[in-house]
Amino acid sequence: MPISYFLVLSAFLFSLGVYGVLARQNAVLVLLSIELMLNAANINLVAFSAHFAEAGLGGQVFALFVIAVAAAEVGVGLAIVILLFRNRQTVDVDEMSYMKW
């Protein structure tokens, strides 16, 4: 099947993630949307890895690493969110606008 199907799918998923990052109010949901974006990238990578056989398994390995990084990022991100909640008693992103005019 045309590879463009996978690519368009991944693009769609990515833009959904962008929408989620920009539109969601809860900080945890923002992190969730970031996961969506990372997944979109993974799909892309794996699709290409299946297409370009001469590259070996590089795409898949890359996808593995992405997953690992995503895990690390979520860990730290949630730690920050929890700390934020401890101080502000809320995780509402709109309330976190202190560095403004």
Binding site: P2, F12, Q60, I82
Partner: protein, 175 residues
């Protein structure tokens, strides 16, 4: 015959991903959003299997669904995420939609332009094994592997440090 099966599976999975993804970003209940993400991730794993990348698929399930989503749920719990419906989106919805649409439009257009008509030449007839992936990692990508492990260590330490409660010596635990 195999191609048609692939296509059908692909379309099913793709539809699941798309719909679940949409629900992730539009669900009013935060827990629902997390659960929709599970659906998305599982379908993505399925897609990987379709692409003969089984190891990645299982790692996806293990790590993403197993660890990350759970972590998210814990996070939601610890931050007293409002259970039940509420208005969870901020005022930026129109702008965000516009931007997302723009990104989608631009990216997909480029990608289609670049790869239009190219068929995936499935070079494998069977799935990749862990042995193969392991081979690949530990020969060609050993350095990134090590770096990622350091990264994970750093993330671990960092997360603990950040989220630690601020204890003073006098408030120490008894015993």
């Amino acid at each position: 015959m195999a191609e048609t099966w692939q296509e059908i599976v692909f379309w099913v999975l793709a539809a699941t991903i798309a719909l679940a993804g949409i629900r992730v970003v539009t669900a009013r209940n935060v827990v629902h959003a997390a659960l929709y993400l599970v659906a998305t991730l599982m379908s993505a794993a399925g897609l990987y299997i379709l692409l003969f990348a089984e190891f990645v698929a299982w790692v996806q399930v293990l790590v993403y669904v197993g660890a990350i989503i759970v972590l998210m749920l814990f996070g939601l719990m610890l931050t007293r995420a409002p259970i039940g419906s509420g208005d969870f989106d901020n005022n930026q919805r129109p702008l965000a939609a516009l931007v997302a649409l723009a990104i989608f439009g631009v990216t997909s257009w480029i990608l289609v332009q670049a790869f239009d008509g190219t068929e995936i030449g499935f070079a494998r007839t069977e799935g990749t094994t862990s042995a193969q992936v392991g081979q690949e990692i530990f020969s060609k990508y050993v350095l990134p592997f090590e770096v990622v492990s350091v990264l994970l260590l750093a993330a671990l330490v960092g997360a603990v440090l950040i989220a630690r409660r601020d204890d003073t010596p006098h408030e120490g635990r008894v015993g």
